[in-house]
Subunit: 273 residues, 2 copies
Amino acid sequence: MKQPIGVIDSGVGGLTVAIELMRQLPKESIIYLGDTERCPYGPRPKEEVIQYTWEMVRFLQTKQIKMLVVACNTATAFTLDLLREELDIPVIGVIQPGARAAITHSRSYEIGVIGTEGTIGSKAYPSTLKHINEGINVYDLACPRFVPMVEKGLISGDLAYEIVHKSLLPLKKHKEMDTLILGCTHYPMIRELIQEVMGPRVIVISSGEETAREVSTILGYNSKLYTGDRKPKHSFYTTGDPEIFKKIASKWLKQNIDIVEKIELAEVQSMGY
Amino acid sequence: MKQPIGVIDSGVGGLTVAIELMRQLPKESIIYLGDTERCPYGPRPKEEVIQYTWEMVRFLQTKQIKMLVVACNTATAFTLDLLREELDIPVIGVIQPGARAAITHSRSYEIGVIGTEGTIGSKAYPSTLKHINEGINVYDLACPRFVPMVEKGLISGDLAYEIVHKSLLPLKKHKEMDTLILGCTHYPMIRELIQEVMGPRVIVISSGEETAREVSTILGYNSKLYTGDRKPKHSFYTTGDPEIFKKIASKWLKQNIDIVEKIELAEVQSMGY
């Protein structure tokens, strides 16, 4: 199936999921939409997040996507079930793949999760993990300094290390914790720092990597992988400043992103709540 | 959904998949059927493998399974598409999960695969890998000594190391190879030896571990995970000697398997070829 995979996010964070989709599924075309204008979704009320997410979905539906990836932890927590119920294409979020990967890799079943205050407050990760195995101990920690740090481009060096080290200190006392989920799509940009601080005994799980893996699983399972010879074509849309988006996307994707289109999202009557 | 997950294999090898299902999905009940009497499937003609697989599937259908796992590389190569077409429950094999995990973990895209002569001869792994990414280099190698070794219980010590070392020698010259798929369900029993021989730079992928992960993905995606409080109940069936099966299963699963039922498979009219 030549149709593209749609990826939505509140901003640029979901690009770490897009990077992994391009790497793991190099024949697939991606349409990315970041609602940069109204970012972040974390502090917004549930109804608003649902409303905004539907507006993004309605836009991507005009592009004939064959699958939808909700590359935003907050939107996943609030809309995944609704979207699955209403849409007739496969929909996957970023929370479940990271949780499942942690269960695969952990041997001590003492699992850490870091994320924004919104995601950690929602308890979506502990709930998903315990849904599968009640015996898992989850240590969750909000790291509010990480997103601003990454967005400023501060992703290496002494100061960055210092911030990561201080933030993760509360997790380091859990000696049996052998797996740490990066529960925010910005965090893969500082994965190496996080790994360095946590030490080699802790497996660091990137939800972008794992989400791309599950997109591959679901497309393969549904016989929807593209297997032809046409080159993939990626498109980027933002509700915010296309120049800023272009700069960040080019840097993160390590390739020149020439065209980023600014769009206005039409207000739709929200469904399903 | 309380119904069990059905697991079929030509013999005992698929128990390494069952172990991982029990570990990663501790609430789920498993029904395992090993066609030990007619094992191995590897050297048999395609039509015979399809016929035998259908006989196992028909038996498990009387047990109201909610999902079918084909825990045998040969049976996966020959029957997966047919089974998916004919059955109205999710069906997954052991080849695709290992291949997808290798793509997720590899950075050099130089991937090794080891398996029985049948599996390596079928080229199922290279074809699955290149289906997703044509740029991957695959180094495949048949290791005919590994299955007899594992079945004899020779899984550690100097002699075992010597056999593994000699067998894997042809792969060690590929310096850029960073990922190795265990393309046979027996091999996880000697995973540590294989890791030791290949060295720490090579990530060793167990198809059992990865298949269980994808069972979790597909059940989660289809809202079929069991989330109630009833304890799981596992059942084991074999077409061969139940005492030998019981001994191996108890050892591999590290728990006493009290009841293994010997069954005769009814000849069914084979479908779909």
